[in-house]
Structures are given as C-alpha cells and as structure tokens.
Symmetry: C2
Subunit: 285 residues, 2 copies
Amino acid sequence: MLYIIGLGLGDERDITLKGLDAVKKCEKVYIEVYTSLLSFGLSTDGLSTLEKLYGKPIILADREMVEEKVDNILLEARGSDVAFLVVGDPFGATTHTDLVVRAKTMMVDVKVVHNASVMNAIGICGLQLYRYGETVSIPFFTETWRPDSFYEKIERNRNLGLHTLCLLDIRVKEPTLESLCRGRKQYEPPRFMTINTAIDQLLEVEQKHGKSAYDEDTNCVGFARLGSEDQMIVAGTMRQLCTVNFGEPLHCLVIVGKTHPVEDEMLEFYKIRTENPEQKGNGIA
Amino acid sequence: MLYIIGLGLGDERDITLKGLDAVKKCEKVYIEVYTSLLSFGLSTDGLSTLEKLYGKPIILADREMVEEKVDNILLEARGSDVAFLVVGDPFGATTHTDLVVRAKTMMVDVKVVHNASVMNAIGICGLQLYRYGETVSIPFFTETWRPDSFYEKIERNRNLGLHTLCLLDIRVKEPTLESLCRGRKQYEPPRFMTINTAIDQLLEVEQKHGKSAYDEDTNCVGFARLGSEDQMIVAGTMRQLCTVNFGEPLHCLVIVGKTHPVEDEMLEFYKIRTENPEQKGNGIA
C-alpha cells in the first residue's frame, strides 16, 4: 500500500492522527521536497522534527528521485506499506496525480490522507472561497523570458468581481545553465518569489497590456508562511504591500475582487497600519 | 483564547495533532453542527467518538445557539481557553468568518487550526485545483422557488474550459412553515441533496435556458462522503451518474471542463463501470 499523506502547512504537529497512524506502520517513509518548502527543518542533531515525532528515518525525495526512481518506490509499496509525505494536501501539485496514475498502472493500492492546503487555508483572510475565480501562477521573469498568461485570467476574474489567488514561483534544484551545457549536474540556489517581486511583475505586465485589470490602488492580501506560528497576513493596496517586509518564504498573494460586507469587516483586521508597515500580530493566528 | 479548529472530513482521527493539543487544554469544547454533517456519530454509550478521544464533554452548537448565544461563548473565551470545532476547515462557511469578526470586536484572541475541506480534497479525483472556476451552490427546488443563478456561472466556467465544483444543499434544523406561523419552534427533518437530485435540477435549468452550458453527455465526477473510509467517487456523464446510488450524505458534484491528459488518465480510474453502477472500490481511498 502506498500512503500519500498531507502534512498541512505549519510544522510537524499539523499532521492528522490518521496520517500519523499510517506513518507509524509504514516500513519506509519518503518526503517530497521539490514542490513545496518545509518548515520541518533539521535540528542540531541532524534529525528532522518529523523524524523525532515518527521515531524513524525519512528519505528526502527530490525531483530527480521521484522522476527517475519512482518505480522503485512503487515496487516497494507493492510488498509493504510505504508513506509518501507531501506538504499541504496531496493534490496541490500535478506531480502527485501522476504518482497515483503510475501506482494504479502498477497495481499498487493507494490511500490518501488529506490535510489543509494553501487553496483552502487562504480562507482565513475572510474572503469567501467560493468567490474565487481561476488560480494563477506568477513565474520569475528573466531578461528574456517574461510570460504573462496570468494577466488575462486576472482580468477575467476582476471583471466578474471574483478574487484571484496568485501562487508565486518556487525554484528548487533548478540545474544551472552552465551545468546543462556541460552535462554535469549543478544546481542554482533555491529561490522563492516574494510578494514584493510578484507585485512588481504584475504592475509591469499591466503597464504593457494597459487594459486596467488592476493598478497600484487595487486591494490585495499578502500571506507569508500561511498556517505557521509566525504567519503574516496583511491587506492593503498593491502600492502599500510593496513597502512591507514579509520575511521568510513561502509567500502568496490574493487580488481582491468585489467584496461582501462580512468580507470587508474581516479584511479590516488585516489592514496595513501605515505608521508601522512591519506589523506582525493582529490577534488572528 | 478562542480556538477555531478544523476537524477535516472523515472521522475523529482526522483532527491534527495541533488541533488535539488545543482541544485538550480547553476548558470548554463546542462543535458546530449546522453547516456540515458529522461522521462523528454517537456511540452506544451516548458518548461521541470525539468525546472518547478528547476525554471531555462536547457541547453541540446548532444554528440557534451560535446565532443567539455567541456572545456568551465569546465571553467565556475571554477568561479561558474555549475550542470551537468545525467539520472541514474553519473557513468553508461564512458563519465562521462572522464568529471571528465578533470575537475580534470583543477583544478575544483567536487561533485557527486548519484542516482539509471539500474545496481542496476534491483534488483526489485528478482534476487540478487551479483549473476550477467559481464554485456554485445548488439549492433544493420547491414548487414555487427554483432559483438558478448557478446556471450563468457554470456556463461561464464551461466556456473557459474550467471545472465547476457544485456544493449541494443541506437543510438542518429548518423551522417548519407551520411552526413559523404559530411562533413555536418545530423543525423539518434534516435533508441532504443527492447527486441525482442535483443533476435532475441542473438538467431542468438547462432545458429552461437552452444555452447548452452542459447536457446529459457532459462529464462529471460525483463524490459521496469525501474523505471518509467509505467515500465513493465516480466519473461519468450526467446521464450515467443519475443511475448510481451514492448512498449516505454528504454528496458533491464536479462538472468537468477541458481536461489535460494527466487529468484524463486519473479520471479513467474513477470511470463508471456500466456493467456495475453500484461500484465501490477503485483502489484509491
């Protein structure tokens, strides 16, 4: 049996009892480390907080391992119980759908243990989840590569009065251009897009298209480390949020559509306090 | 401190360790029982499975209690730790946003413990969460009340190739018409819309509007008891799904938009087997 287990968004204690039951009976435990960032860091003795909680070693599964050695993992799961841990909910990323498809093709049974993902945890800002349009991804721009297909989607959502969740780019274990040329594997340091960079790129694209999908005065909500003890949620215009230091990753951004009075009341608690843009607590954690 | 704690979708072991930590230190524990159905039933000795797990009594908070006595609960939370349990994630329903707003107004600190909700757990069918348009709600039609504002939204999503999550009506503790007239409180038995009823209503509305937003041959996915041990997920056309007995509530329905090959591969595992519409297992639980 292959158990695909969502870890939720915060720390090691965000796993469900059902997830922990499953991990404890598995012979091998893998953790996926390429679509999301871990708050489950290594401690000084080299054991991660997860390993301490589970009482067994965890094998880090990076993109290379999952893409090239997934059949080995699935063969193991045919004869014994194997856990595959995923930050958030198992189906946030396409790769995990792919894993299930391959498992089924190899006649391996799969059991899924759900958990919170960014797609539903953003509900904490008070904007209703059923008032969101299509989700967009904002990729890192380079000198020569500045794709902006998200613009049309945001424009559409805005015209319909819907909110837009913007997922911000994560680059983990990207091979360097140099290493690709030489055929030897060397990796760029990991990069995580900040809310500030996302807004810069969004405004650049608005200027290029000029269809007034949004502007510097458009209301947004910035989320950093959503679901963690030190999460930071700030509501304000794009211009205001650009002045905020959201700190460590992961960040995501919601572009606010038309709001209901209850949504407004709730957003009010997260409103940027212009006298202190380094705001932290707002009593909702 | 008011802890608003998501219980997830399945049974009592879907709570997170963090959620359980919080419940254990709370002096009072309420559970919200009007926006969602519990799989956390009473056992023969009258104690719910949750009470057994927590080792303390749980107070059922129905709509009346939360709407009329919420200030009492919040006053308690000012002087001590109070848990408010919610099936799914705390922010699936507007009411809980309202609760946070009232808490903040009364200077009560709020801590949220996230969990899986139907909004992200539907990812298990293989349709990518970022390819969904606006979510719609399908209300029970009556002789005289047949609202169909969902039609326009589905049409829009379909034209954009997006999937649509349809949340199906739940009627819990609705006062009878008779009791409203007499001013005495009597309640209708609880009702939960089935996938079959939803499809009937959808097709009726399509016939009325005639804009071909969808038809009997449109691909859908039906979910019953999503996240539970006996969940049932079946993919097929509206006509096919109408022949399936999905059993106990809760049900929800996804109208499939344009699909990516990986999405198709995954849906294939859930496809209705026409020779046996009472299908159960498909090896993904």
